[in-house]
Symmetry: C2
Subunit: 246 residues, 2 copies
């Protein structure tokens, strides 16, 4: 793995000008970009070196563990960015906060499509219990954020599960959206996922007093011209013939 | 891989009495049972031989590809059983059919817990694109069944996605349920997942004419004392203070 035979005898100026952190960031960005376009097993260190316009030995100097280490580092940086998507001030109607977070999350999905699928769908040769742990950490961070916004310091099992179920559904929807050639448009998908959250929370409230309290408080903060008002007005004609159920 | 050194010189009578298919079924059942208790990487062919009370060479004779082949075959048989869970006559209210299918599915999850988690959570060393394809096939079969019960020969992207999202949510809920020490009770989880389906379908109906038609037809078949009537009556007090949204 010395590679001195292929490295240029005189390093190009760019090699010296970049600091260690800067170079590492550049290599990770190049790797993440490649992992976004193809399945991890179809990306080689040579590809990363070419994309970053450096020699293969240089890539190895930064990531002596080879592709596995590079993949985990790229995943780590993607996870940090994803966790950043969920940060949102605790003001305004809940559906508005959720929409903002979803906009950032779905932009990430749109940008990293093949890599996002490969990671979440499994079956990748570079997937390990460590990479699964990173993905789980992102899920946990998302759930914690939502519960914080719901204002529940000690969520019971129903509310906890409802939030985790919705996060699973969002992930699933993202994969299906990629699979369906990115249909419907991103803002429609976002609004639908917000509706899904409201519907799941309300259905859960029907059987769980804690969720019922949270739902009442959240609905009280929604404006009539917001997404929940819109959803309520659109649902009424669908259910109006089912008066026998009340 | 001949193993003649470890096999008993005189095969036990049980060896001869069993036919090829019967033996194969027995080995698969033993393997599936082990994969249910531990992660696939912690199950060896020796364990399978011990559990089935046969010699290791015999296991190799049936599965010359070793553990990977045995795992895939066990997964294949599990997938067939799972697909069988979804078969349900097309009569009666939709939520009743869904409840029956969920009862069978959740019983499977309960029975195969560790193996079910390992498979769906990824990160297993025996996971490959082939095992992922088997899991995807089960998901597709479930979606096809639901769309058939909804009576939609040509579902649009919204309805198709809604059904797939719910299936993802059911899978997620199963994993979370295992993670939450099997809380709440299985029948409560089942009822909640049915409520979730009704809520998601109704929320989707708000924006999609095809889903609206399907939802109206499905609600029309529900009895007042069924799960949808129950859900509607429990939801009303939660949303009654949100009249400003209408």
């Amino acid at each position: 793995m010395n590679g001195s035979g292929t490295a240029p005898a005189v390093p190009r100026p760019a090699y010296r000008r970049m600091g260690v952190e800067q170079r590492r960031t550049q290599l990770l960005a190049a790797a993440l970009d490649l992992f976004a376009q193809r399945a991890p097993e179809d990306v080689s260190l040579d590809d990363v070196a070419t994309a970053a316009e450096v020699s293969r030995p240089l890539v190895y100097r930064y990531f002596p563990g080879g592709k596995q280490q590079l993949y985990e580092a790229a995943l780590r940086s993607a996870a940090d960015r994803l966790e950043g998507c969920f940060a949102e001030p605790e003001t305004g109607p809940l559906t508005q906060r959720l929409s903002h977070a979803l906009d950032r999350y779905l932009a990430f999905v749109d940008e990293h499509d093949a890599g996002f699928s490969a990671l979440l769908q499994g079956g990748s040769v570079v997937e390990t219990s460590r990479t699964s742990a990173i993905v789980d950490e992102v899920r946990r961070a998302a759930a914690d954020q939502i519960l914080r916004h719901l204002g529940v310091p000690e969520p019971g099992v129903r509310l906890r599960m409802a939030v985790r179920m919705w996060i699973t559904a969002v992930e699933g929807a993202s994969l299906i959206w990629l699979d369906e050639d990115k249909q419907p448009a991103l803002d429609e998908l976002r609004d639908w996922l917000v509706d899904h959250f409201v519907a799941l929370l309300t259905a859960t409230a029907a059987r769980d007093p804690q969720t019922a309290r949270v739902t009442r408080a959240a609905l009280g903060m929604e404006p009539a011209d917001g997404p929940v008002g819109d959803l309520a007005r659109r649902v009424l004609p669908v259910v109006k013939d089912a008066a026998h159920l009340l």
